[in-house]
């Protein structure tokens, strides 16, 4: 089976006043149809920029400098701006973090969704509204016809995020990039949406890239996991392998920092230090200053990526240590 999304060597650089910053550094991964890939990392690790880079929505001073983004076999980076625009929404769609901000406050939900339908398909307005209504039904919104006539401020946060997901689903795209779509929601709503997304991926065969900093979300949702640190993917593999037997010390640290895993009253283990500034990355391995396993080798040369369940580390954890 060919991958719905195949990202190869994607590199995105921002030319800031202090110098160039590589926010996404040689990132490669692929997602099969119907699979959900969790792209995990802390704030500033480059996971959101990766999502926007896939859609080619990087604004100056940023630019994608290298790599390929293959959606259904078409390299988005080789397309003209207009051809790329035609791919967006049609073949690859995106859902954003904050549902309060993603919908235009002065337009009816139905008008916004109908616009998204009609930009790719030449259908009448009423047919577009009909499609929008069906999409709302798909994501489990009760009384969809009524919701279409509502303005965003009349809907709850969870409802708005469902609308955003329904909008992304309008053209049955092969790939959906979801940029922390449940972060701003209540835990109970989050659970509902995660279940809905899992069901949609299975039913529609959509490949989903789920960008998040929340390992708990990923563990209940994702088939595969990529862990990002300082613009690079430092560990990748199946969700089960990565979560149960992490190889990279950073992944280990992330997993240990999840509160649910520890007895109440015990201090939480933390990863010492803070995310490095991208403009001023440490020599060698970027995680070295915070890593309990670092040696002189780590300071001298950056580690190289391996195969299957790989970790970008000179001293990967082995089964016995976890």
């Amino acid at each position: 089976m060919s991958a719905a999304l195949d990202v190869r060597g994607l590199t995105t650089r921002f030319d800031t006043r202090k110098g160039p910053v590589t926010a996404v550094n040689d990132v490669s991964f692929s997602v099969q149809p119907g699979r959900i890939m969790g792209l995990v990392g802390e704030s500033g690790s480059g996971k959101s920029v990766t999502g926007f880079s896939i859609l080619g929505l990087i604004d100056a001073p940023g630019q994608i400098t290298e790599g390929q983004v293959l959606v259904d076999g078409t390299d988005l980076r080789s397309l003209s701006p207009d051809a790329l625009r035609r791919m967006r929404g049609k073949h690859v769609a995106m859902v954003f973090q904050d549902p309060m901000m993603t919908l235009n406050p002065v337009l009816r939900v139905g008008d916004q969704m109908a616009m998204a339908v009609r930009v790719h398909d030449r259908v009448s307005k009423s047919a577009a509204w009909d499609r929008a209504r069906q999409a709302l039904e798909t994501v489990g919104i009760p009384a969809p016809a009524e919701r279409l006539r509502a303005y965003p401020h009349q809907l709850s946060g969870g409802m708005r995020q469902r609308v955003a997901i329904a909008t992304a689903l309008l053209h049955r795209p092969s790939v959906i990039i979801a940029d922390e779509p449940t972060t701003a929601l209540d835990v109970s709503i989050q659970g509902q949406i995660l279940a809905e997304v899992r069901r949609l991926a299975d039913e529609t065969d959509t490949a989903i890239v789920w960008v998040t900093h929340d390992l708990a979300v990923v563990s209940s949702l994702a088939d595969d996991i990529c862990v990002m640190y300082a613009g690079r993917i430092v560990e990748s593999g199946s969700a089960e392998a990565v979560l149960s037997a992490p190889k990279h010390p950073y992944t280990r640290g992330l997993i240990d920092s999840v509160p649910a895993r520890h007895a109440p009253g015990q201090p939480l283990p933390q990863i010492p230090g803070a995310t490095p500034q991208l403009i001023n990355l440490p020599q060698g391995c970027a995680f070295r200053p915070r890593c309990p396993r670092a040696t002189d080798l780590c300071a001298m040369q950056p580690p190289q990526a391996g195969e299957a369940h790989f970790a970008l580390c000179h001293h990967p954890l082995t089964g016995s240590q976890t």
Binding site: L55, L57, R85, R86, M87, R88, G89, K90, A93, M94, F96, D98, M101, T102, L103, N104, P105, V106, L107, M115, A116, V119, H120, Y151, H153, A164, T167, A168, L170
Partner: protein, 324 residues
Amino acid sequence: MLGYFVQRLAQAVVVVFAMSIIVFVGVYAIGNPIDVLIDPGATQEIRAKLIAQYGLDQPLWRQYLTFLVNVAQGDMGTSMVYNIPVVDLVFSRLPATLELVFVSVVIATGIGIPAGLYAGYRPDSYGAKAIMALSVLGFSVPTFWIGMLLIMTFAVNLGVLPSGGRGDLGTVLGIDTSLATLDGWSHVIMPALNLSLFKMGLMIRLTRAGMVEAMRTDYVKFARAQGLTDRQIVFSHVLRNISIPIVTVFGLELGSTLAFAVVTESVFTWPGVGKLIIDSILQLDRPVMVTYLVMVVILFVLINLTVDLVYARLDPRVRLKGGA
């Protein structure tokens, strides 16, 4: 909605009433019109008679009361200078000002909003920088000076446009207007352009600021992620969102231009109400001043009401409520 209207109407009545007192007292304080109007050689007897005829011998409160009673009967008074009813006088001049303001507002928004959109859409382009530089000129260089430059250039040196006056009038719907004749247009275009420059600068800056801000919002990014064209994003998503501040300023500017097109009307000897009020102040023609200022207040109240209604149309989050 009905409650809202009743409340606004009550507010308007209070505002107009309060304003009329302020205007009346203010005009009273400026000076005695008899000193200006009367022949210096007139006898004391004639003087006293005239003062009595205009009711100027009465105390202020009684003058005001008389004024109110007359207004209640639809009589705003008679001009002391022209000796015709003030209402007729003001309304004979009003169309000239209205047409001037109308054309200038059309120029200001017709050029200002598209220019502002462009400047906000491509903020780093040379075109945007040129537009912004012009907008600064537009509202920092004094109107009268630009007016004189326009006259120098187009009327004196090039001789293509007349320097002043209203030109030939045509009749549209029973109203005499310069906009009905070509000659009238040649007279109106230069003062209208002059009057529009300040507003145009303002419109450009407001539109640009809104546009720059809106282009960074999530809903614009989301629209782009759906594959919408930039044209759709600007005209369907952004314009609607940034129109509220634009409408606000538009309303304020419309009101103040109607009321105080004085400078431009003077430079271009345009026979509008602005010129009338200046002449009236110089000649202490009290009834004209009072009537004009009260009319300006009513105008502002109406414009603000319209702006509020437009808000509610533009932004579904705005609810017009009575009470409170």
